[in-house]
């Protein structure tokens, strides 16, 4: 047998920053290799194709020289809330829980790396994947606008910047659910249901009672399109909408609120910070049971 060779070389433990970078790289590569990236690209190409192909059958694109590009962009941005929710579900919903439910934590946690580094690396990688997809979508809008109207509007950049913040907040909530659930499937389903049904239900109920729905994260998605409303809908709330009278007396009127930019930014930041903090605490404390 050869002479002992163990410990002949010494490796220096890298800094937390360097480990975060390593985790981000690997998680991003994983995100790129999953089929979900391809699916998202297909979705945005289909949505874009739909938005670009339908108006010519009904009189063409908006032709107002001033407002036309804004109205055109709104065709696209109306789909962004749903796109962001899907991104949060698929890039945040299973990001943390999978380490436990898929048993990959047995390989990664015994390494000399803090849970905070893993958490941040995963978060950055998920954000990068979402930025990539959202970026491609906005690029399609910008290129289409430039071709059709021979001009670009700066509000598209504002809308994109805000969409990124909104996406980050949604991702934060998805991370919180991911940190608290036992299985990957239940985390994905709950994230989806929360954004598409629970928030909408609460919003609908509050609207009936005339209560402002501002604290709800999904309500703040309105800002994304608001930028492209040209001018931004400043009134708050917007006019009441009568929904008809109920026979025998009484009536129902809905108050439609429009989110403001300042509120939108503040509330997205609140959701982002609180949900990420809670998600990190839960992820850090979670044990590898079973």
């Amino acid at each position: 047998m050869a002479a002992p060779t163990v410990h002949a070389r010494k490796w220096r433990l890298p800094s937390d920053f360097s480990q975060i970078e390593a985790v981000t790289r690997v998680e991003f590569v994983r995100n790129l290799r999953r089929k979900r990236l391809l699916i998202f690209m297909i979705i945005i190409i289909l949505v874009s194709a739909l938005v670009l192909s339908v108006p010519p059958f009904y009189g063409g694109y908006p032709d107002n020289p001033i407002l036309g590009p804004y109205q055109f962009a709104q065709y696209f941005t109306s789909a962004i809330n749903f796109l962001v929710i899907l991104l949060a579900v698929f890039y945040g919903g299973d990001a943390l829980v999978s380490e436990f439910s898929n048993r990959t934590g047995y390989a990664i946690f015994p390494n000399p790396i803090r849970r905070s580094s893993l958490f941040l690396g995963k978060l950055f990688a998920s954000m990068l994947a979402c930025i990539l997809i959202l970026g491609v979508y906005y690029l399609i809008i910008a290129v289409s606008m430039a071709i059709i109207y021979q001009r670009l509007v700066v509000e598209l950049v504002y809308s994109f910047a805000y969409a990124l913040l909104y996406m980050a907040a949604c991702l934060g909530v998805a991370f919180l659910i991911s940190a608290s659930m036992r299985s990957t499937v239940s985390a994905l389903v709950l994230t989806f249901v929360l954004f598409l049904f629970i928030f909408s239900m609460i919003s609908g109920i509050l609207m009936v009672f005339g209560v402002r729905t501002e604290p709800l994260l999904t309500f703040q998605a309105g800002v994304i399109s608001g930028f492209l409303n040209g001018p931004y809908p400043e009134s708050f709330p917007s006019p009441q909408i009568p929904l008809g009278r109920i026979p025998g007396g009484g009536g129902l009127e809905l108050v439609i609120h429009n989110p403001t930019v300042v509120h939108g930014i503040a509330i997205c930041l609140d959701w982002l910070l609180v949900s990420l903090l809670l998600a990190y605490i839960m992820f850090r404390r979670r044990e590898m049971l079973g």
Binding site: T104, A107, P112
Partner: protein
Amino acid sequence: MASSVEPLVIENLSKSYNGFKALDSLSLNVAPRSCVGFLGPNGAGKTTTIKILTSLLRASGGRAFLNGVDVTKDPKNALEKVGAVVETPEFYPELTPVETLSYFARLRGISPANAEARVAEVIEQVKMSEWKDRRIGKFSKGMKQRIAVAQALLHEPELLLLDEPTAGLDPRGMAEVRDIIKTLRLQGYTIFMSSHLLFEVQQVCDKAAIVNKGKLLIYDSVEDLSTRKHVMKLEIDLVNTIDTETYTKVCALDGVKGIQCPTASKMFIDFDGDTVARKSLLESLQRLGLQVYSFTDAGVALEDFYLDLIKESK
């Protein structure tokens, strides 16, 4: 402060799950360059101990030092020179073994230039070169276990924590992993290995710690544990068959405490005696007309001792 010389020092380690004590003030030290088998029945606390040592679980009480650093307080630095295989880990299915090990190399601080060579070395060591560029998603459990062993060796750790490292492997894979562990032992690695396979511990380790219900029952060299019961089990294979008369005569031989005959040409003799007495026994068997072609220690003395110990602790 525990000694920084000993790679593994466990002090009164406890773990409770909703009132159930999985570990009860466990204490033991592992000397450098030794190979310790951590034995116990299912639910004894073996995996819980290794999970605490690898920061997968939090201890309810006590401390555990890895190379002098308390893993319950500073897991990052404590795990720096530790390699571990816990249960049968899964790896990211989207990555290949080379990518996975390169990732772990980065987390360990191995420079990309060194990592390439080191990754190739460990992949070769666990005989996975043929699959090094295939995605892990389609690998069998045994192949994943080899990758797990490779990642544990990647940074040439001073201490290896192995939780049933041969679990899930086919017989050939088990033998190969055991051979790897034996080689590592000769190379100077300190190894702390849990197992419920006694013969595996007997084959690979020089010391054994036996636990049950979260408590350490005994911690001694495998050799001493094997001889504590004083009775060894000898496996004897015959060319001819044994009849009732010969059987009675064998029972009456010096040192023979009992005989089991699973077939007419095979005997297991519980024997109390040293090597000279064993030689005499062999001669006596031949004088009785038994044509012995194999006369070996069945290696189950430790098993008998272990079973007695577990029984007593219940």
